[in-house]
Amino acid sequence: MTQIAYFNLPDVGEGLTEAEIVSWKVKPGDTVSVNQVIVEIETAKSLVELPCPFAGVVSELLAAEGDTVEVDKPIISVSVADGAVGTQTSAIAVAAADAHESVNAAAASVDADEPKTPNLVGYGVAAHTAASRRRGRVAMPQAAPATTALPVAAAIATGALQVTPAEDSVLAKPPIRKLAKDLGVDLARVSGTGTAGEVTREDVVAAASQASVFRNLSTPAAPSEREERIPVKGVRKAIATAMVSSAFTAPHVSIFVDVDATRTMEYVKRLKNSPDFAGVKVTPLLIMAKAMIWAVRRNPTVNSTWTDEEIIVHNYVNFGVAAATPRGLIVPNIKDADKMSMLELAQALEQLAATAREGKTTPADMKDGTITITNIGVFGVDTGTPILNPGEVGIVALGSIRPKPWVVNNEIVVRQVTTIGATFDHRVVDGDVASRFVQDVASIIEEPALLLD
């Protein structure tokens, strides 16, 4: 009886991930000896001839000339005498099988049923590390009839043997993948901020702390107790006090406007690609903040404080951002945001968010705000009626921005549309000022170029 032995494409050059089959020197049915050159491959570094690791009769060529094959994928199967080859090798897999069962045999050789094999150089590359270490990630061509000729080659050619791309298209180092796994973060949903676009430790931590805030990730089983009593203390108590004090002392008035944010989204995209903003997080919130600061200058009363004796109009903007954190809602602000350039503001927003997520926001960070934005769009809702941050007279809610039908020149077209909602303290801000302010903000969102005036 004979065995089928598989020769997997080795990494011939310290860290290569793939190679192209240039020419086969053997064909099915040929007798091969150990170290006989069987194929010429071209790697990113050079043309290389591969010697056969075992003696026998060529059973199948599993990749065609011109194909690019990933390292660790089988390229040839050879029928060898029983016991002629060991199985504890990284580039070679053996399946006890007759030739007609080669489909499953080949699948087994790329599936994780093979023994865990050492990586010779470093951790190798994510794609094949994941493939060789994780179980059940390879699509097995089970339906292929057992007698079909060259089924495995066909399967490779059609991609049926490819590893599913979900996580593997994401760049991340193994410890970061491990961290993501531990924290339940799906790397595919994290946008990497590393120099090569890779997902960093900070990205994963941020995603982990945000994910549970933004979305119900799972539906827990119904609790057995009829009621749960949660002591009112700490941040929750502070939030409650502030909300009540705000809602029952300041008469709130809310107004809304729908706006075409297509140009804002384009602007965000261009800023992201600009070298000046490399490594800085750019979001629609940044444009919104800039728009509000601009609109404040045109409508200063929305940026003031009510005391029973006087209205204090602030000629500076301490720009508050409502932040949902694992500990609850907090509203830190960026001091003198009106003095900042777009880049400085972007950095300040990023810093504010990071500090909040880590739970390191200080009381000073939350003091002396003059106007606030709440970015409820990130929760996927269109708008809301925000409650004023105590001491302030204006707050703006930025809703989700998504493609919606929009009328342009009497025709319905798809535009990136959002709703701006805003609440004001009616003791200070009259309807006309409130409306002009919101219209000013909306005009910037519609045409951010106006910021240049």
Binding site: N8, D11, E14, K45, P53, L120, R133
Partner: protein, 364 residues
């Protein structure tokens, strides 16, 4: 350039180099056969290791084909008290000092860091970082001098050091520093530079304005160039200057002019930077062919060469089987020898890696 065995296999010591004649006279036919056997063994080992790398069994291989004469000749000239500080291509020198060839393959597979004990073998571990072995060797030689193990009446009480490096390493500061310190100290050391003419893709002409054997002159280290593809020149010249070093004559530099027939390593593609005609020129000056011509003139018949070839195949099959049987080394190996004694931080790191690795087990 000292040449004792001509490319046609004719033996003779030029009168200008008669000081080396007495070393040639010590050699018997058995020595010649031993040289040939080991040069052939070195080459067969090299071919097998290259194939094993191409089959995914080694992370890297560093071929030394073409340098057999320089290494086997000089390797046998090193006495049994002397110490050897190799670079990373000295597989032939390793053969002459009984290093288990599997140790070298294990290192290039990443299973260990060499694994032989330099105290026992006097063949120190391979130095992967270019040129670092030269100051190590000089330091050792200075120690030998301080210990008074130089210039004693009884030859048995003396020892010397030999440091191997290539033409590329001469452009590293370490080699110049080593030459200077050894000259000042008059250390018992021979610097053996195998000029294989290519420092990866840099030609030797881009590395030096004067012949490399003259490099030591300004420091006070005399030198000589030998035909590095002549195993007898390599043996005789090295033997003489190791003797001199043991006797207290100070350091000496030997430049063995040879050629790297293969790639720098299996990650290199030499066709990108040098011409095939150049390689052909040196292939025609193959050190094994030269020695074979000489041996056949001496009356050595086919059966010897067949026996050598057969032994090579047996050795190749053995190391192939042994390589395939190599398992994965225990994780502890990475940590055990960082400090000589247990260390809390290393213990913590080991625990972390173990936990990390185990997190992949049974992963769904």
């Amino acid at each position: 350039m000292v040449q004792i065995l001509s490319p046609e296999g004719e033996l003779g010591v030029p009168s200008a180099y008669s000081v080396y004649a007495q070393y040639l006279e010590r050699l018997t036919e058995a020595d010649y056969l031993k040289f040939y056997r080991d040069m052939a063994r070195m080459r067969r080992f090299d071919h097998e290791a290259t194939a094993l790398q191409r089959q995914g069994q080694l992370g890297l291989w560093i071929p030394a084909i073409g340098q057999e004469a320089a290494q086997i000749g000089s390797g046998y000239a090193v006495g049994h008290n002397d110490h050897i500080f190799p670079s990373y291509r000295e597989h032939g020198v390793a053969i002459t000092h009984g290093i288990d060839l599997m140790s070298i393959l294990k290192m290039l597979r990443g299973v260990n860091h060499g694994g032989w004990n330099p105290d026992e073998t006097r063949f120190h571990l391979y130095a992967i970082v270019l040129g670092t072995q030269v100051p190590h060797a000089v330091g050792y030689a200075m120690g030998v001098k301080f210990d008074g193990k130089v210039g004693n009446a009884k030859a048995e009480d003396n020892l010397a050091v030999i440091s191997y490096f290539g033409d590329g390493a001469t452009a590293e500061g370490e080699v110049s520093e080593g030459l200077l310190f050894s000259a000042i100290n008059q250390s018992p050391i021979v610097f053996f530079c195998q000029n294989n003419q290519w420092a990866i893709s840099s030609a030797v002409s881009s590395q030096t304005r004067v012949p490399l054997y003259q490099r030591g002159a300004g420091f006070g280290v005399p030198g000589i160039r030998i035909d590095g593809n002549d195993v007898l020149a390599s043996y005789c010249v090295t033997a003489k200057h190791m003797d001199d070093a043991r006797n207290g004559d100070g350091p000496f530099l030997i430049e063995a002019l040879t050629y790297r027939i293969g790639a720098h390593t299996t990650s290199d593609d030499p066709t990108k930077y040098r011409k095939e005609e150049e390689v052909e020129y040196w292939r025609a000056r193959d050190p094994l062919t030269r020695l074979e011509k000489f041996l056949r003139r001496q009356g050595i018949k086919d059966d010897f060469f067949e026996e050598v070839e057969h032994a090579g195949e047996t050795m190749a099959a053995e190391i192939r089987a042994a390589t395939f049987a190599l398992g994965e080394p225990p994780i502890e190996n990475m940590f055990n020898h960082v400090y000589s004694q247990p260390h809390p931080e290393i213990a913590e790191q080991l625990a972390w890696v173990k936990e990390y690795e185990s997190s992949f087990e049974g992963d769904a």
